[in-house]
Assembly symmetry: C2
Homo-oligomer: 311 residues x 2
């Protein structure tokens, strides 16, 4: 289906429920909210699934669209959800329409608008809204800018392309409040986060002349910094800042004696091969796993495995 046909399909339904994925990020929440706003402006009744996992940064932008208790929906739309396993529990098999940009989309919905060439789902929703209403509202432009900028790491991730920058330019022209979004999502952090970063950088370990960098976040560090999980956004990116790092590892101690591991790497080493040894997975340049044991044990095991995987 093209954008026009999708818009027509959506406008042909009433009492729409829009779903966002588990562990929701800026792209799923803000794109869904923008779509909800546009459908309402198009005269439809539409609500967002009240995702209980939404974080404090995103909540103020999306909760006005949350479905009230007992909302009777007749048509279910999934936004930015690649597979049924990422749907909120209980909605498997119920999705009528899926809007997504993941190349890994498993085509689980009755109808779909999947555009893997887009760097964010916000860009897909942006074109869709232009076919629902003639103009994107200022509020929708800001929501779409949140989705686009967070999914591209403020235009620094490798998925950023000419089209994503062009879309960002158009959103600013439509009134997106990029100054506010930049402050809130990219610049400002809590004092606890700054203290946690201080401890992480102080405790970095380097191997093979710095080509392997390891950051460790213990429960004790979290407590000393006064940090909560809300202060831990993108911690996995810090270790890779070290200039010679080819493989970066972040070891985050969990309650109960395990460690959550994030691995990032340049193309010459496979992050997923490293994590597969411990039953984890992911992509060639970003993967994760869980290791039972202390952070120190986890680090030793990981270095051993990297010595095997990366000759």
């Amino acid at each position: 289906m093209n954008y026009k046909q999708c818009a027509k399909t959506l406008l042909g339904h009433e009492n729409i429920l829009i779903l966002t994925h588990k562990n929701p990020d800026g792209d799923t929440m803000a794109s869904a909210a923008a779509l909800c706003s546009a459908l309402r402006r198009g005269g439809r009744t539409a609500c967002l699934y009240a995702n209980p996992q939404v974080n404090d940064k995103l909540r103020p932008f999306v909760e006005e669209f949350f479905a009230p208790a007992g909302y009777k929906y007749k048509y279910v739309v999934a936004v930015d959800i690649a597979t049924e396993g990422l749907l909120p529990k209980g909605y498997e098999g119920l999705v009528n329409f899926c809007i997504d940009h993941h190349p890994t989309n498993s085509h689980y919905a009755g109808a779909e608008l999947v555009r893997p060439e887009k760097s964010s789902c916000a860009e897909v929703v942006m074109e869709l809204i232009q076919n629902i209403n003639t103009e994107i509202s200022r509020e929708e432009a800001t929501l779409l800018y949140i989705g686009l900028s967070t999914d591209t790491g403020c235009f620094q991730y490798s998925n950023t392309n000419a089209a994503s920058l062009r879309a960002a330019s158009d959103l600013l022209r439509l009134g997106a409040d990029n100054a506010m979004v930049n402050l809130r999502f990219f610049r400002k952090v809590s004092r606890a986060r700054l203290m946690l970063e201080s401890m992480i950088y102080a405790g970095m370990d380097y191997y093979r002349d710095g080509r392997i960098s390891v950051a460790t976040v213990t429960l004790d560090m979290m407590e000393k910094a006064g940090a909560t999980e809300d202060d831990c956004d993108d911690l996995a990116g810090l270790a890779g800042r070290a200039e010679d790092s080819v493989v970066s590892i972040t070891i985050k101690e969990q309650e109960g004696g395990s460690c959550k591991i994030s691995v990032r790497s340049n193309p010459e080493v496979s992050s997923s091969d490293i994590c597969a040894v411990f039953g984890g997975g992911g992509h060639a340049m970003a993967a994760g796993c869980t290791i039972m044991g202390t952070p120190r044990m986890a680090k030793e095991l990981l270095i051993q495995v990297i010595d095997e995987v990366w000759k």
Copy 2:
């Protein structure tokens, strides 16, 4: 003069020398290099002033354009230089043509192309090159992307607008290597820098419930971190990351018993008013000064002054 007239003027001269400003940043160096490349492709002899202050990050992109010793120039072009005081020493009164985007440009040159609506000088040079040659080369696109992205803080500073994002999109389409630029200028830092950031965050001071944040960088910290001036890019931005900060201060101890002070503030407080007390200056939201004395003394004096200036 419009872009076409400027292009014609430049192409009407030979043995061109292109100047960059004191303490050169990405915008002056990379925009000048892109212009130099385009003029050479247009059949002109052109060289960059071999700015001795260029840093290690920028040098590999620009030094191929540096004027050889004894280069006999007949026509001098200034790029991104707002006032004669920012010219390299000895070139005062010699500038034939000035290309700039600063609203504060003092119109010191015989002819000029000053476009204050542009967020970077790279965007001015970009339009100019399109009038010198029909197409921007890949290498020039990368240089212009360096200028544009560094001058807008990778599209996060308040000068970022729809036109700057549109220009960035066009540069990617023309082959700019944004992945390499992002890694080099925004993502990767030395291990010494990570250690210095660790010490800075650990030593942050907060006043008025965190609305004033103070970062201190002592000579001792620099030595312990193994850091040099090359590791100190944008240190003045770190203190302002603290979420409640309205005024952020960075105190950098200098050899000889003085401290270099950077003040950043939201519009409700004037950074330049604070710095003026110590004989410094700047803008309402970013200013600087020097205070004789230890970092501790400087901090106490600054807090006193802020109590006067910000009631």
